[in-house]
Amino acid sequence: MAVKTAVKEKEKERRAIITVRNLSVEYRTHRGIVKAVRNVSFDVYEGEILFLVGESGSGKSTLGFALMNLVPSPGYIKEGEIIYHLDGQDIELRKLPLEEQRLFRWKQVAMVFQSALNALNPVLRIWDQLYDTIQAHDPNITREEAYKKIKYLLSMVRLDADRVLKSYPHELSGGMRQRVMIAMALLLDPKILILDEPTTALDILTQKNIIELLKKIKDELGLTMIFITHDLSLAAELADRVAVMYAGKILELSDVYTIFYNPKHPYTYALIKTIPKLTSIDEELYPIPGSPPDMINLPPGCKFHPRCPYAKEICTEKEPEFEQAGPNHYVACHRWRELKFER
């Protein structure tokens, strides 16, 4: 009982730092229009770690880029609102003049990119790439002040500043480069940090190290994080809440405990079953049958129905609404009320 009231208390404190409403992002390609994000609405709460989970191509990175208004061409935000609530102001990044957008980025919201190996400019030394970041936002800063800040952050990500700063990116290992990127993202003390698969390009040991590092950062800095991954098991370690994405839409959104122990969406349940458990070696794994839909010619109705074992006639005709299924639990499935998944 005590636990429940504590959760309730926490709920009341929750304050949205980003509100996303009816967001749609498309890419115009020669094959047709890719609807990468389709009419998505959700909030990001201050101080939380929100996981965005989904298979490859489900639109996670696109959503991340849209938050910074940096959707790469030929993509564009078709409609919708992304409102930041910062310092008592409501800011719609897209509507700001370009120069203000530039100053907003990285200062308020920074990002660690999916491809660690390619995120650093190969012809500039690490020092230049960190220093130019500070300088772009504070042209009057002295080298000494900048150096102090940089050195502090590099030691936080456990890098030897004096060695790393002189290096070019190719002289560092993948894990070191990703640490540099994390330090770079924290350089201006952003309020929000987007991490787009920060570990996928790395070997398994380095992945573990980076996750440990992110845990430490979570504890020490308490900033708001949006963590993009296709690896649901990472969510178990780090997430406060999880949003499950499929074919450009969020299918289920709830706190991490509910997602793992009381999922309402068949796709979420299928994803959980794909996670290998370390406790039992010979346990059977259940890869999700079928493959993600073609994002240009999406199936009618629920986009998951061709792969869903619970699909009924209505699922092929009408796309389900994103409904509230409990306190802070949202799901988009016609049959969420009837379905029970045994664990």
Binding site: F65, L70, R102, L103, Q114, N118, A119, N121, P122, V123
Partner: protein, 343 residues
Amino acid sequence: MSFKSVVGKIYRNFLVRRILRAFGVIFVTSTLTFFIIRLMPSNPIEIFINQMMAAYGMSYQDAKALALALFTIDLDKPLHQQYIEYLINLFQGNLGRSISISPGTPVMDIILAFLPWTLFSVSISILASFVLGVITGIIAAYRRGGLFDKVMSTFAAIISAIPGYLIGILIIVFIGVQYGLINYMRGAYSAGIRPGFNLQFISDVFLHLAAPFATYVLSTFGGWMLSMKASTISTLGEDYVTVAKAKGLPESRIRTQYVGRNAILPLFTSLAIQLGFIFGGSVLIENIFVYRGVGRLLWSSINARDYTVMQAVFLIITISVVVSNLLADLIYGLIDPRVRVGE
């Protein structure tokens, strides 16, 4: 350390190895030209002897003795002996005397009279073309799909499909003849003018440079522009450019340090190869405009079967191409930190 290991160590040094290889290439090429030249039909010394007999009524013996005294080579000797003599002379810096285009004049003097004009005209043209192409290419890449891009890319594609000499002829016909400028399209300066360091001569030189300059630039500009455009477009898609935008860097810094520097790298190799031709000029273009360059010298020496001059010109072209490739590698190591020189 044994002698062998010292030699091995020196050889393993990148620079030493490259220089040794460069000498090897020069040696092999000049050997090949030596023999190929002698495979050409007709014998220039025989022609000289016949001319002497016809013009001055000399006997064959007298004419032959004159030829032997005048020229350092004797084509009646066995080939291998001629070759050894050629090598010995070469190592002493002796290029021999011209046989037919200016009998008896040291080849070195002839080269020194022609080389500066080629150096002057080709280097100015290559640099101008490179700079113009790079700038236009970047602008086209940034505005791809726009009017500027469409017009310039079409123009570049057409112009780079036309051979240089044809552009030269078109310039002569449509500008030279139409506007009565044909006098400025013959030679490196007007016939009546005295070479000297005065305004009249210098402006005359530049007027004469205009047509070959335009031809060089027009025939190479398209290639530079299209490669720079392609390179810039692919660089714009690199993650580090997106990172730079996300970091809130000013557009000017992104354009120069993140896009420009990386996009231009692949063009440097081609530029260095082009620079190798500064010494060789273009045979066709120099001939069209009767420009006093090495290319034209090569043409007339081939027509006159002037073995010694041909050997010297080919040697110069080989050396300059080899040296510029060597320099290209070294410079590339400086501008691209990923290419390490030394090991």
